[in-house]
Symmetry: C2
Subunit: 207 residues, 2 copies
DNA sequence: GTCTATAGCTGGATAGAC
DNA sequence: GTCTATCCAGCTATAGAC
């Protein structure tokens, strides 16, 4: 209504944007059902209530759709991981972090595959979409650093543990919790061997 | 030559068997190049020096080819993992085990995907092929048990660590060694938190 | 922007001669 | 068993009317 004349972002752009989002939403619904690689533009158009050529009015190619999905997934990942509460206690924070990560991955396997595995043959995310993903991973690093883990090798070991648990869970016990139950054990193991550096000097009041 | 009349395994069967193996070999060459899902029967036939219908003289369907590949991969996995030397020292044995596993996975990513990830839409290994894979995984369990690790949760954590390192290596640093270098750290972490049970009582003569 | 219609291609799988 | 020829389904993508 009062959306008046913001330069370049008028109702026209809004319409187009929401139409694009509707297509992407339909794409998510399909890949969650038929698998990431099984997406076809025919099905997509039908699901979105339009025809195939209309899809091309909004996306240049099928990969452009994957790219939009990738960007959205990265945003969702950032939001999901930012929602975890920080207490300052290393153990509970690491458990929360890992649980949140696992929940994100498992709640949408297709999204996990798109974002973290490279399973679509000709697809590589655009620089723009990839930027979101990098930002999300940076955040993980920052949070771990706040807990006293700064050694890059430690960070790599941490991500390996996380993806390993998630990967085994998805591949070998889908729908179950055989590996999810091990999250606390994994964190304890990690903490026992790599005690966090002493309090990261919470000296940031001044500024 | 002296292969005479072994009942049911005459030269006819041998010819057929070697023809099948040639097709499977061509399939491996193709998937290593174009990705596991990118395999097409046209390309396969061309690579094998035959025509598409001839492929069907040896395999009922494309999935039957994947199945033969799966069985072969499982056999190779068992052989590769059996080649690692056992010293009885937990640390060096675990490092060797994990290194061997990583080497196997990384040396042929398509094989890794076929065997350990479920990435081909309509494909599930036959009971026969799957049996080989189960045997191979059993062997891992037995070897860990010999080192004093019998808790099934421990085994799951161990496999998660292994696949996590391999997965990160393949996905995020293909051709490099960023995660491979962490194998020793990972083993130390594992050992520090879960010291193996005292010598597995090599007293099993009786029985 | 949205449609109908279709091009153009590639896929797995089969028929039938030899 | 191996071929030529082909079917039929699916796909991405485009042309052109409205």
């Amino acid at each position: 209504m009062v959306k008046a004349a913001a330069p370049g972002v008028d109702w026209r752009e809004d319409r187009r944007r929401s139409a694009r989002e509707a297509i992407v939403a339909a794409a998510w619904a399909l890949v969650e059902q038929d698998g990431l690689a099984g997406l076809s533009l025919r099905d997509l158009a039908q699901r979105a209530g339009i025809t195939t050529p209309t899809v091309y009015a909004y996306f240049d190619s099928k990969n452009a759709i994957y790219d939009a999905m990738f960007g959205q997934a990265a945003e969702q990942f950032l939001a999901h991981m930012s929602a975890v509460e920080v207490t300052g206690n290393a153990r509970s924070d690491l458990v929360a972090e890992l649980s949140q990560f696992a929940e994100f991955c498992i709640s949408n396997v297709a999204r996990y595959q798109l974002l973290f595995q490279r399973t679509i043959p000709g697809f590589a995310p655009s620089a723009d979409s990839y930027g979101h993903a990098v930002a999300a991973l940076d955040r993980v690093q920052v949070r771990l650093a706040a807990l006293g883990f700064t050694d890059p090798r430690l960070l790599d070991l941490w991500t390996a543990m996380g993806t390993g648990l998630v990967d085994q869970q998805i591949s070998n016990d889908p729908g179950g919790d055989r590996w999810l139950r091990l999250i606390e054990d994994a964190v304890d193991m990690f903490l026992a061997h790599f005690p966090p550096e002493p309090p990261p000097k919470r000296k940031r009041a001044k500024r």
